[in-house]
Symmetry: C2
Subunit: 220 residues, 2 copies
DNA sequence: CCGCCAAGGATAGTTGAACTATCCTTGGCG
DNA sequence: CGCCAAGGATAGTTCAACTATCCTTGGCGG
């Protein structure tokens, strides 16, 4: 198909597709002649993924480009691609505080988190960006005067572990099929809002029960 | 304290504080004379919260203003404020697809989700924005050619429910203390990245075990 | 063979958000 | 009485993400 049809199929305007091509978010079509390029079904999928990364994942164009680049770099093994893509996905902490006093608090919180997760037997690199995100969130919470939710923490971790196992299996399944190299990215970006939305609905349910709790039994 | 000191204490530049004052993200100080205003410790807290909403929560200035406005509007009861603030927090779905074919898929997915959650006994309004976010994410996943994760869904919901109960209790505790009106906002915005970061670390752990699984036992 | 013409690519312009710098007003104080 | 800095108002800047315009190119009809 040509640019015009790709635009129609994907719901992205022609100038925007050109922009994404320029930025390297979408691979160029195969040139069928010097002034015509042929686009495939993969391009439609890719455009949809890009839109999801930008709108749902709130990623910048630059971030999306970098993530997609490693996610499909044949120089890496599938496992490496998976890890590298995940490490590049936002959110990220720009830089830990330089201010010495804040830095002490930061390091202390990071240490506590690390200990707690190691105690659970979790294995990951000390350089995992998610660790810094965790530290930042907890540090901010503490800075606002709230207690660090350490016991909640253990509960969160225990609840999340089995989910991650199931998800990993699903992703690995799709990764076997070579056509779905971007499964990691799609699952990471799109399952996250699902989890958060469920959490909010659960809050609403809890709140509703406590307020106008009728004769119904609480959920198991 | 004066503007200059507020800036120092909060780590936000003076022009930015002025900007936030103008935009209504921070309440004005109490004017001690015509050219001097006194800012309190609450202003420091508020500025930190605002920065967290903008940087960690990736909210826009307008969204932050609206959320904070309802979160402390004395015209609402505590319970109403809680719900209203949560409903206004991002992410949001701008508009369901108008295209008739896509719209059918959308409604179908929305119906499936609603059925599933009702079957679990969850109570919430049909207008909850989180429902649309859920629908959008699942619809996008389906549009990319992945299966809708319905059985994972049940697992997610079951795992999240007890977390939500514990969190609600914590938030309610802080809400009792009148000085922490923004507890809902702080917890929603700051605990979400914690959950997502834990999920990513769990993925890394699972991946690491499957790859170079040593003699260690898998985590319970 | 020559020139037309549209697809596709290059270039510059637009828009909106989030600051940021400058100017202006004001009243306490020497 | 006039200086002067805090604080507020106004306009300017920067950056990302598009978006519109022009330009190049080569197949093809005359």
């Amino acid at each position: 198909m040509h640019l015009a049809e790709l635009s129609r199929r994907s719901g992205v305007s022609v100038p925007s597709i050109k922009f994404y091509l320029r930025e390297g978010l979408v691979p160029p079509g195969t040139p069928v002649s010097a002034r015509k390029a042929e686009y495939s079904e993969d391009h439609v999928r890719r455009l949809r993924l890009v839109r999801a990364m930008l709108t749902i994942g709130k990623m910048s164009v630059a971030q999306a480009r970098d993530v997609l680049a490693v996610a499909e770099d044949p120089a890496f093994t599938r496992h490496e691609r998976l890890g590298a893509a995940q490490y590049m996905l936002p959110p990220h902490v720009e830089a830990p505080p330089q201010d010495s006093e804040e830095r002490v608090v930061w390091d202390e919180i990071r240490g506590l988190i690390l200990d707690e997760l190691r105690r659970l037997g979790w294995r990951f690199l000390d350089t995992a960006p998610a660790l810094d995100v965790l530290t930042q969130s907890v540090a901010t919470l503490v800075g606002l005067g709230y207690d660090a939710p350490v016991e909640d923490f253990r509960r969160y971790a225990a609840a999340i572990r089995p989910m991650a196992e199931a998800e990993y299996a699903t992703i690995a399944l799709y990764e076997q099929i070579e056509e779905a190299l971007e499964a990691t990215v799609a699952y990471t970006v799109l399952v996250e809002p699902i989890l958060l939305a469920l959490r909010r609905l659960a809050h609403e349910d809890v709140s509703s029960r406590l307020r106008h709790g009728t004769g119904d039994e609480p959920a198991p």
